[in-house]
């Protein structure tokens, strides 16, 4: 196999940040979504594999030498990247999710990116920026129910329409009345009374 640094086109003393950005640059060029634009699909696929291997190798080597964790998550693989970020958000690792999101270059940011960015900011309590990002996500992908729900929820509380009272079901519902009648009926009939004369 070729020297992994040559494959990525970076010097051996490159920082982690440089490696990641070089990787993303190449992945955008040869990635599955973009292949076909002047590059034969077969070639692009092989090239992409080579790039992935090289990147993996460098990160593994560096991880082993510095003892740090493998930064596999920096892969730019479209949706799988976002999946990873979503998992991080769900497990409460907001800082990590933010770092990963910021690592995605502005040109590659789509509706999902804005939604996730909004989500991260929402978790941090940066509600204004979160609102802006939610609305950007909604504008870019108006049909998506997930983005729409987040945007609507925030929009409601912006106009003061948030819950100001605990929901409690202590009132008397139709079911309660029915149950009450049934109980009365049972008791009365058992004791020899006649609560409902017709039966």
């Amino acid at each position: 196999m070729n020297n992994p640094y040559e494959v990525l086109g970076i010097p051996e003393y490159a920082t982690e940040e440089q490696i990641k950005s070089a990787y993303r640059e190449l992945a955008r060029k040869y990635g599955d979504e973009n292949a076909g634009a002047g590059i034969p699909a077969q070639f692009a696929h092989r090239k992409m594999q080579e790039i992935n291997e090289a990147y993996d190798q460098i990160i593994t080597n560096r991880g082993a030498s510095s003892g740090g964790p493998r930064a596999q998550s920096a892969y730019y693989n479209g949706y799988s990247d976002y999946q990873d970020i979503r998992e991080k958000i769900n497990s409460g690792r907001i800082e990590d999710a933010q770092t990963l999101l910021d690592g995605i270059p502005p040109s590659a940011r789509d509706a999902q990116w804005y939604f996730l960015k909004g989500n991260v900011q929402d978790r941090r309590g940066w509600l204004e920026e979160a609102f802006k990002n939610y609305s950007t996500a909604c504008n870019m992908d108006p049909g998506n129910p997930e983005y729409r729900a987040a945007f609507d929820a925030m929009n409601r509380s912006r106009s003061g329409g948030y819950a100001t009272q605990k929901q409690n079901d202590t009132g008397c519902s139709g079911c309660d009345i029915c149950t009450g009648l049934l109980c009365t009926y049972c008791c009365c009939e058992c004791m020899g009374g006649d609560f409902i004369p017709c039966c």
Binding site: G92, W126, L127, E128, F131, S159, G160, Y162, A163, T164
Partner: protein, 293 residues
């Protein structure tokens, strides 16, 4: 904190009101005993809220008993015991925050305000030195927030979120200190963060008219300049920001297992914060004369 986090009295039960007043009285008494009677001047209902949250999360149940107070000898009010140091910590917080507030007032006040600050400086400084030694954690939290706030205000493009972050994080720290290992730690932090953010932004909204005249820093003003929104929309967009923040806090309160005082806290978060927002944004003249409770 500046006296915005208050209960909404019309919807309160008498028992909650008694507890609320009881915590206030205890804190006031504690300030006078731990520092000087002059320290009582700096007590505001924000600290009562902080104390109520801390008290409602502690293990042991605080005990209330009735006693008299020299400022109102005819009425007996509830006094709280068995607070596991919550009240002392809150009293220290009052002093430390008042000291920084005084410095801040001195820096951007007019001549009269400056004179008042100089008059108050020495007693407050002495109390602050005492409080700093007694409670270094509170001191570190507040000092960090103040210095971060200053940095933020120097920044050219300071967003609302960025400006509010320092104060909000400070309240989050103060509220959640000591609960790091609990399951509700994150919720409590977020709750504290949003309430702190709301209080900071309320202060900014309240001062907006004055800051526009004097040219002092105000997050809403910066925001409007950057966004190019007309001055008439200032209140509308401030209201949206404040409602969102209060709504976030209201949503978070259900995730924290408060052991007691829940009706009181719900009243403050659900109703108090909302009515205060409306009061400050609705008619600014009225809020000056309004009693907090």
């Amino acid at each position: 904190m500046f006296g915005y986090i208050v209960a909404y009295k019309p919807e309160m039960k008498i028992k909650d009101y008694e507890i609320y007043k009881g915590i206030y009285c205890t804190l006031c008494k504690r300030l006078s005993r731990r520092y000087t009677p002059a320290a009582q001047l700096f007590l505001s209902y924000d600290f009562v809220f902080l104390a109520a949250v801390r008290l409602s999360l502690q293990e042991a149940c605080p005990v209330f008993h009735k006693s008299r107070c020299m400022y109102n000898p005819l009425a007996k009010c509830a006094r709280c015991d068995g607070d596991e140091g919550v009240m002392d910590r809150c009293a220290d917080t009052v002093v430390i925050m008042s000291y920084y507030k005084l410095l801040d007032n001195f820096n951007d006040g007019n001549f009269l305000r400056k004179a008042v600050c100089i008059f108050l400086y020495l007693p407050v400084f002495l109390m602050w030195k005492k409080a700093k030694k007694r409670n270094p954690h509170v001191q570190d939290t507040v000092a960090a927030a103040v210095s971060r706030q200053k940095e933020c205000e120097k920044e050219q493009h300071c967003s609302i979120d960025m400006a509010a972050d320092a104060s909000a994080a400070a309240l989050a720290n103060l509220m959640s200190a000591g609960h790091e290992n609990s399951a509700y730690y994150e919720s409590l932090r977020r709750f504290g963060y949003l309430v702190g953010r709301w209080a900071y932004l309320m202060d900014a909204a309240d001062d907006l008219a004055r800051d526009m005249k004097t040219g002092n820093f105000n997050p809403f003003r910066q925001y409007l300049k950057a966004g190019g929104v007309a001055c008439d929309d200032v209140k509308a967009s401030a209201a949206a920001v404040l409602y969102t923040t209060a709504g976030g806090a209201a949503a978070e309160i259900t995730n924290i297992p408060f052991r007691r005082f829940l009706p009181l806290l719900e009243n403050i978060v659900y109703l108090g914060m909302k009515s205060k927002t409306d009061a400050v944004l609705g008619t600014q003249g009225e809020t000056k004369n309004e009693q907090s409770v």
